[in-house]
Assembly symmetry: C2
Homo-oligomer: 156 residues x 2
Amino acid sequence: MSETQQLFKMADLRGRLSERKYKMTPQRKEILQIFIDSDEDKHLSAEEVYDLLKQKDFDFGLATVYRNVELLNNLGILNKIEFGDGRTRYELSASDPQLHQHHHLICLNCKKIIEFEEDLLENLECKIEKKSGFKILNHEVKFFGYCADCKNKVKK
Amino acid sequence: MSETQQLFKMADLRGRLSERKYKMTPQRKEILQIFIDSDEDKHLSAEEVYDLLKQKDFDFGLATVYRNVELLNNLGILNKIEFGDGRTRYELSASDPQLHQHHHLICLNCKKIIEFEEDLLENLECKIEKKSGFKILNHEVKFFGYCADCKNKVKK
DNA sequence: TTTTCTGCAAACGATTTGCATACAC
DNA sequence: GTGTATGCAAATCGTTTGCAGAAAA
C-alpha cells in the first residue's frame, strides 16, 4: 500500500471516530497500523493482532484488541470474515466501495486461503434485488475446493 | 419433501456410513430425520437439533449431537453455515450436486435470513477455475443488506 | 472535567474431549 | 467378539463483561 494511502486510512479512522464521538487512542491507531502493514491477503484474528502488537512492543490488553477490531468493523474500516476455524478474522475493507470485496477460495486439503480479485456479481445482485426487494450493501463469497497444488494429490 | 425423497436420504446415509466403516445408530437416524422434517429454510445449530430431539422424546447426549452433525457434514449430507451469531448451523445439502446451494440474504436490521433459490455462479466459477487453477466443489454466498420490510425503516 | 477507554480478571457460551459403558456389525 | 458410538462431566478456547483507574476531548 502506498504511503499516501496509508495516511489516508489513518485520517479516515480519525474522521469516523470523531463523527461518532469516539476518541482516537494509541491502541486504535496501532491496531489499524497492523492491518495496514500486513499483507493484503492476511486475515487476522484478534489474537493474531494482539501477538503482532506484542512483537512491536505494544503491550495492549487482549480485550482492548477484541473491542477495537469490532469497532473498526462497525466503522466500515475492517471487514469481518469467518472461515470456519472457530475464530473471527478481519481484513482491511476495500477503499473503493464500488468494488465490494474480492472472493475467497478455500482449499479443503491444505486449508490455504486464496484471494480472487474479481467481483462479477453485479448481475446476480441486480437480479436478487429485483426479485426479492432486498437492498444489497455487501456480500461475502467463499468457494470450497482444491487449490492448484492439491488438485492432483487428492484421490476424489 | 416427498416421502420417496425422505427414504432416499435415509438410504443415502446408510450407504455413506457403511462405505467408511461407520455404524448406523438410532442417534444418527433421528438426527437426520430432524433435518428432513424441518422447514427447508431452517438452519439448525447443534443445540437446536438437541432440543428438537428432546421434543420428540429422544434423550440423546448433546455431545453426540455435536459429533454427528459434524459427521453428517463430512459425509456431504449436511452443509455447514455460519451467520456470525457465534453458533455453527447446518442444513440439508442439495440432493442435486449440480445445483450447489442457494444463497443467503442477511438483513442487517432485523437479522432475518432469506433464502434465494438461484445459483447463477456457473460463469464466475468457470472464470475462477481458468484463472487460478482452483477446482471448485461448492460455494457459500451471503449478501448483507436490508430486507424489503426494513429497507424503508432504516435512515441512511 | 467529563466522558470514553483501557487493562485485568472473572464470566461466558459454544464446542470438544477423556473415559467407562453400551451397542452395531 | 471387536471396534465403534454413546453419555456424562470436565476441560478447552475464543470472546465478552464488570469495574476501577487512566487518558482523550
